[in-house]
């Protein structure tokens, strides 16, 4: 199990890095899907099969398909790719890179203090549903409203 965790982690990491340095949008999207699936595997390892399922279906499935449709609409070709290459100059990475390095150091520094081993306990759909439609009902309602708002906004924005 441990091995699976690290393996999936490595995959997620590599594919993610590939996303941000890729110049081709479609390639990047594919890498992103791989990354998401890898994370879904991690979820599974951590005992959250329902979350893993949703990650695969909603994220890697629905959302990414949405991206794909949009990219088809935009019809970005070779010209865009060349443009991307021009934009990705190494010196551009220095400033943000340093800043991010500091941030990462800080985060890791904080996180390593928590030396606890996790024994994954599977939390099934049932418990999740009881919680979701019990104490978190209000959050569910809010989420539904958010989705509605997103729906309306997307419709309005994408309209000619």
């Amino acid at each position: 199990m441990m091995l699976l965790f690290y393996l999936a982690g490595a995959v997620a990491l590599i594919s993610t890095v590939s996303v941000i340095i890729s110049t081709n949008v479609v390639h990047a999207l594919v890498y992103l899907i791989i990354s998401l699936l890898a994370v879904a595997v991690i979820f599974f390892v951590l005992g959250a099969p329902f979350a893993a399922m949703l990650e695969a279906i909603v994220y890697a499935g629905a959302i990414m398909v949405l991206f794909l449709f949009v990219m088809m609409m935009l019809n970005l070709g070779q010209a865009t790719e060349d443009e991307e290459k021009a934009w990705l100059r190494p010196q551009l990475w220095v400033g943000p890179g340093l800043l991010i390095l500091v941030l990462l150091t800080q985060l890791v520094n904080v996180l390593v203090t928590q030396q606890v081993d996790v024994v994954p306990v599977e939390v099934g759909v049932r418990e999740l549903s009881v919680l979701l439609f019990g104490p978190w009902l209000l959050a569910v309602e809010l989420a539904s409203m958010l989705l509605l708002a997103g729906l309306i906004a997307a419709y309005h924005l994408a309209k000619k």
Partner: protein, 102 residues
């Protein structure tokens, strides 16, 4: 069942988050920026699920669900905006949107 160190999960989430951040900061193509944002959101979700596993409780997963919803809504709106932007400026370069200069 062999255990997984808690902090490794979190550090993975942190690294993924930071990768997304770099993407947001360095890319000019708005599609890439949106993707990077997805990475960041996903990293957060990962952190929550790790936490959920750590405490053996489902609240973290519920938070992940919320984030998922949020990401869905955000992508829908964000992609709509990208389409609008492309219609108006015929480019996906975020730098053309600098009218808020003081």
């Amino acid at each position: 069942m062999p255990s997984i160190p808690y902090e490794h999960g979190l550090i993975l989430a942190a690294i993924l988050f930071v990768c997304g951040l770099i993407g947001v900061l360095t890319r000019r193509n708005i599609v890439f920026i949106l993707m990077s944002l997805e990475i960041m959101l996903n990293a957060c979700g990962l952190a929550f699920v790790v936490g959920s596993a750590r405490w053996g409780h489902a609240d973290g997963q519920i938070m992940f669900l919320m984030i998922l919803t949020l990401a869905a809504a955000e992508v829908a709106v964000g992609l709509g905006l990208i389409i609008q932007m492309y219609r108006r400026f015929h480019t996906v370069d975020i730098s053309v949107l600098s009218e808020m200069k003081g």
